[in-house]
């Protein structure tokens, strides 16, 4: 009796959280999952009949008439995952040392730096990416400057290359990597670093055995926050990549906005979500184990 009443009260207390999750997370997800098994409507939308070719097109079964299996989708997915991973890596390598440097600044400069790094959030992403377009294009600031200095004779081919895409993604994602990293680095127990050196560990050993494991939560946090939106990003490849290298995000956008194939777009979204979730689960479990590992 008492237990039942308790759980009723608990249910009541949890209701807002459940509702919140349900409305903002679960419901859209369920709709996408449902749509991914429905027949595409001729002019967008869905027809209410079961249809498995949406997944067949991606994974290798198809009727070969209206629905054709093409490995291109998996290749695009792989490409997007690689770019996202590269973005994580580059932002990490950039932000990690900077986080240490910032954490040692006097308080006033530190706050100023943290303010600077959040500054981009105050303006539109599209505008900022167009600014990069102006910097990178052949007659842009970068090339003019380098040529003005006599460092190069021909403009560098950066705009509309994969390099520009990575550059843009890194630019967009740096704050998301930096903030969790900085929090972890700032939380790092200096005494433990000293203890390690005191016990005979040189700088490299100290870094690997103490600093890295201690900041691992920040690294994982940053990696997750950067990886997820990077996989689905389609604005950067469009603007800075010249729409030449299709990313999975572009593909999904295209299914909804020009191919009028909502179910296929939903199936692609489900595949992305599953892959990202799997990658994250594996990464987090591995990180846990490393953190707990014995040498």
């Amino acid at each position: 009796m008492a237990i039942r009443r308790q759980s009723a009260i608990l249910g009541l207390l949890l209701a807002p959280a459940t509702l919140f999750l349900g409305v903002f997370f679960l419901l859209p997800l369920l709709i996408i999952a449902l749509f991914s098994f429905l027949t595409p409507g001729l002019y967008g939308g869905v027809e209410w009949s079961f249809y498995h070719w949406n997944y067949g097109r991606i994974f290798g079964w198809a009727d070969g008439i209206m629905e054709v299996f093409e490995p291109v989708y998996l290749r695009i997915l792989w490409r997007s995952l690689s770019f996202a991973a590269l973005t994580v890596l580059v932002t990490l390598l950039l932000c990690y040392p900077v986080a240490f440097w910032v954490s040692r600044l006097p308080e006033r400069s530190r706050l100023f730096f943290l303010f600077l790094i959040t500054l981009p959030f105050f303006s539109s992403l599209i505008v900022r990416l167009y600014a990069w377009l102006l910097i990178l294009k052949p007659t842009g600031f970068l090339n003019s400057a380098l040529m003005g200095l006599g460092l190069i004779a021909q403009p560098l081919e950066i705009l509309y290359t994969p390099t520009a895409v990575v550059l843009g993604m890194v630019y967009v994602m740096v704050p998301f990597m930096f903030l969790p990293l900085y929090a972890a680095v700032d939380n790092l127990d200096r005494a433990q670093v000293e203890a390690s050196m005191d016990l005979g560990a040189n700088r490299v050993q100290t870094f690997l055995k103490v600093v890295l494991p201690q900041t691992l939560p920040g690294i994982m946090g940053g990696a997750v926050i950067v990886f997820i939106p990077s996989v689905g990003n389609f604005i950067v490849p469009d603007i800075l990549g010249g729409a030449k290298g299709l990313m999975i995000g572009n593909l999904v956008e295209q299914q909804f906005l020009s191919a009028r194939n909502w179910p296929f777009g939903s199936a692609l979204s489900m595949v992305i979500m599953s892959v990202v979730l799997t990658v994250l689960l594996v990464a987090v479990t591995r990180a846990r184990k490393t953190g707990a590992g014995h040498a």
Binding site: R79, T139, A259
Partner: protein, 341 residues
């Protein structure tokens, strides 16, 4: 652009607010696809405040309306989308063809198959998609073959539109097929044509006016409306390719879900007037189906054969139709084009 428009809309609603009670009209149009002065004039005459929202593709607009976006009165679909929306029952019958001024409209522009008499929508404007080029860099060019040869001949860059149907249309035109082909082999051949030139193309983009002005590219695939940016640059020319090009036409349609149908009707009637259509052309550089309006447009527009096209050029132009389920074939071809290295 959008913010500029929003600002305009705000200004319009302010003036209207002073004039009359809350009479409003809500337009959902392509970005940069109406002369703001037209709206100002409409508000001045009728006291109806106009708000303007924009989209960048037919499908975006359709998806929004299908997903249940409400509050819009008027949309500007391309002809094939006009057909689709009629089939989907999204449009309101206006009887605009019964208006005395409807005689101003050239019947050749009643292209919507589902609305052959113009009972629903009013033909709004039309234009061509062709090639802008910097003649100082490229020398004279006449069509697609010359265009794709620019990078190899001069080392300069070219871009084509980031638009599935427009890009594949170029391939279809160059392989001698209809831009509305539903034959997988023909679409594949068109894709192969584009793929064989992909290396020459710097980007799929709409950034043509800015990049052409700055000299970052020497030529780009773009809409005739781009001429507005080059009135002061005689070295930048626009052509309708000799091999053929595409044309587009948008109609003014009232949504079945429109909250202000009477005001929408007033706007359609307003736009039937030649001087209003001409006012729009003067800023937009595209064609109008309003016959007397053509006589009122500025001379430099009227006399430019690439803008005010004659019958023989018209013969080279194709217009997109709704291709139904064959869209999938295009989608696959487009993915192949965009992922090829």
């Amino acid at each position: 652009m959008k913010t500029q428009m929003a600002g305009l809309a705000l200004a319009l609603s302010l003036t209207a607010g002073a004039a009359a009670a809350q009479e409003t009209l809500s337009l959902y149009n392509w970005g940069d696809y109406i002369n703001p002065e037209v709206l100002t004039k409409f508000t001045e005459e009728t006291g109806i405040a106009v708000t303007l929202d924009t989209y960048s593709s037919n499908e975006e607009m359709l998806a929004k309306i299908q997903a249940g976006a409400t509050g819009y009165d008027i949309v500007f679909p391309s002809v094939h989308m006009n057909d689709i929306m009629l089939k989907l029952g999204l449009l309101e019958k206006t009887g605009i063809n019964a208006h005395p001024d409807f005689k101003n409209i050239d019947p050749a522009f009643l292209r919507a198959k589902e609305d052959p008499a113009g009972e629903y929508c009013l033909p709004y404007a039309w234009g061509t998609v062709g090639i802008f080029y910097n003649e100082d860099v490229t020398g004279p060019i006449t069509g697609w073959a010359d265009f794709f040869a620019i990078p190899e001949k001069t080392g300069a860059k070219i871009t084509i539109l980031d638009d599935m149907r427009e890009v594949l249309a170029v391939g279809l035109i160059m392989t001698g097929k209809s831009v509305n082909s539903a034959d997988p082999a023909e679409v594949q051949a068109a894709a192969d044509y584009i793929l064989s030139h992909k290396a020459a193309v710097t980007a799929f983009t709409y950034e043509v006016p800015a990049m052409l002005t700055s000299g970052d590219i020497a030529a780009g695939h773009f809409f005739v409306g781009g001429n507005v940016f080059f009135t002061e640059m005689p070295n930048i020319k626009y052509i309708i390719p000799a091999e053929g090009g595409t044309m587009y036409q948008e109609n003014i349609c009232v949504l079945a879900s429109a909250p202000h149908k009477e005001n929408a009707q007033k706007f359609l009637e307003f736009y039937l007037r030649p001087e209003i259509a001409a006012l729009n052309v003067a800023q937009q550089f595209n064609g109008t189906p309003n016959i007397p309006a053509n006589e009122l447009t500025p001379d430099f527009i009227r006399s430019n054969p690439n803008i005010n096209v004659g019958p023989e050029t018209m013969a080279r132009l194709q217009i997109f139709e709704d291709i139904g389920a064959a869209l999938k074939i295009y989608d696959r071809a487009w993915n192949t084009i965009r992922t090829a290295q």
